[in-house]
Amino acid sequence: MTNMAGLQQKHVAVGEKLNTKKSMTRITRAKVEKSVKKTIFVVFRYALIISLSYMILYPLLRMIAQSFTHPYDIGSMGSIWVPEMPVFDNIIVASTIMNYPKGVVFTTLSTLVVVVLQTFNAAFAGYSFARLKFRGSKLLFALVIFTIVVPPSSVMLPQYVYLRNFDILGIFQLITGHKLNLLGKPASMWLLAAMGQGLNSGLFVYIFRQFFKGLPKELEEAAYVDGAGLLRIFLRIVLPISKPGILTVGVLSFVWNWNDTYFPRLFNPTNDYLRIRLSGLSAASGGTSNVQLAIGNVVSKLPPDILKLTSDAYDKMILTVCSLLIILPLIVFFLIVQKHFVEGIERSGIVG
């Protein structure tokens, strides 16, 4: 584009010497050509953005549309996007069979604890790798990468056995007479998160290392000259200016842990986790579907005149509503933090 414009201008310069009137028309033609090109570019860009946005939002929009669809209208051509007879019954049924309010509170709290522990562990480890190098720290960082590459399921069995018979140097056995069974307790997941072996922990250490490496060294040096210890520098100077990095890791950790089924299923398989509840509901069953069984269990809690069917399509619809309910808190959370989140990404330079 620039090349073409340059050529045009050369022409114009030559033309100017020969004929001023002719050059005038040439200038306007070049300008028009340029603005047309620009318009095409802008239109094309917006078309691309809008169509891609549509594809990204498609599952979400479909879920929302389905949530309000009247059960009798499933598959009806009139109710694909805007339900003909919008109802709240599906949402009531779905939230009742998921025990939604309790699930939201439980999932939020247990996820938040994991997020805080995971973020702090990763921040300390990342700062150590970025600034407080010691002999062997390069090798240990290579091992961090190794933990990212090796799937967590490779260590699931021994971890399971270990947490079932948890003990620190035989202390618990001495005091209580038997080893601690941490399975089925949130403590097992907190322990893993605090020790840097939670969901995607290796990736978070990596992100923090890159982030801290990008911070200006002068600030820490000045604090050191002023007499601050290394721990104080980290807690009082580095952490407060690292909000973008902490936000990036915190948001990713929150979202991933919220959506995760692997860790809860292995260590704390309770239906209070919304995702565990959903995977239980959507699991294949021999006879009556799990959704119908769940509806049967809570039928006394439902209003007597509520709409419910016993078809396969209806079960699928209820599962869709459940999925929407699960990510609803995430969407709200994301809309609140997204501006700072994207700014954080820009300033953090998480990739170095």
Binding site: T2, N3, N259
Partner: protein, 316 residues
């Protein structure tokens, strides 16, 4: 921590005499201690144990486990007796690579799109980062639901699979090799899987774009490079380290979330290992499966990162 602090306050204590480098090393070890202990207790030891389990018949009993050595029979069983595992491994390798390729191209395009300056950019950014919160399973669950509906609509209106079949027809008629047409139609039919997986790679590329110095673009402009040339000669080389990071992440993630449908039932590779261990109580077999899975992951990731790192351009 407390101890070293008290020592520090006493002038003449050993900490006081340490040089800055030594102090840094000391604190480096202290800062890393939680991670290091976690790595040893919850990663390295279990990893070694898991490999040992895979050569044994393992039973969980009260207060621990018993194991008896059986050689390679768990591995033989994983590949020959368990009919689902080998299929899952095969489809995992088949499906992940094309998907990762499309994900990387798409997320790079998405990052470039949301990086420019134009009215409405913040809305576009929010939408393009939504795949991060959606989660692959949720997106696919919602599509299964709408799949039932679209199939019903398709059968009632006689438009069964119109879209993807149309594309396949057009491509077959162009005379392109079958593997290319297969690849394109697979990519098109899997577009929602691609979109759902593109969240983090888009984020990585966006962060990467932010680190490119504007001076480079200025120079390119002064030298008379076109927008097209600038993309290939400036943006792409500067983004190449991010290609490495996001490819590795996408492959690992793709493996981890892999599911395949065999005669109507959907199996997940991780779910399969879990079921073999905790439903069938065949711990040795499960350990053999995880070991195979780990070896495949490590080999594939090292190979891919070796190949990519040969073309990666590092600015500094």
């Amino acid at each position: 921590m407390v101890k070293s602090r008290t020592v520090k306050q006493k002038s003449g204590g050993w900490y006081y005499h340490l040089g800055l480098t030594r102090k840094k090393s000391l604190w480096g070890v202290i800062f890393l201690m939680p991670w290091l202990l976690g790595f040893l207790i919850f990663f390295l030891k279990p990893l070694v144990e898991s490999i040992i389990y895979s050569f044994n018949k393992v039973k969980v009993v009260e207060g621990g486990i018993t194991k008896s050595f059986v050689g390679f029979s768990n591995y033989v069983q994983a590949f020959t007796v368990d009919t689902i595992f080998n299929r899952l491994m095969l489809t995992m390798l088949q499906k992940t690579f094309p998907q990762v390729l499309v994900v990387i191209i798409f997320s790079m395009l998405a990052a470039v799109l949301i990086n420019g300056k134009y009215p409405g950019r913040s809305v576009a950014r929010t939408i393009f980062l939504i795949p991060i919160i959606m989660g692959t399973d949720i997106a696919s669950a919602s599509l299964v639901g709408s799949d039932v509906i679209s199939k019903e609509i398709a059968t009632t209106s006689g438009m069964a699979d119109f879209g993807s079949r149309f594309i396949l027809d057009v491509l077959t008629n162009t005379g392109l090799p079958t593997f290319i047409t297969g690849f394109v139609s697979a990519a098109v039919s899997n577009i929602f899987g691609v979109l759902a997986n593109s969240g983090l790679p888009t984020l990585i590329f966006l962060a990467g774009l932010q680190t490119i110095s504007p001076a480079l673009y200025e120079v390119a402009k002064i030298e008379g490079a076109t927008t097209y040339e600038t993309f290939w000669k400036v943006t792409l080389p500067m983004l190449s380290p991010m290609v490495l990071v996001s490819t590795v992440y996408s492959i690992i993630d793709g493996f981890f979330r892999h599911t395949t449908t065999i005669s109507g039932t959907t199996y997940g590779i991780i779910k399969r290992m879990y079921d073999v261990a905790f439903v069938q109580a065949n711990y040795g077999l499960s350990a053999a499966m995880t070991t195979v899975y780990m070896l495949v992951s490590v080999i594939v990731v090292s190979l891919v990162s070796f190949l990519i790192s040969r073309v990666v351009f590092y600015y500094d």
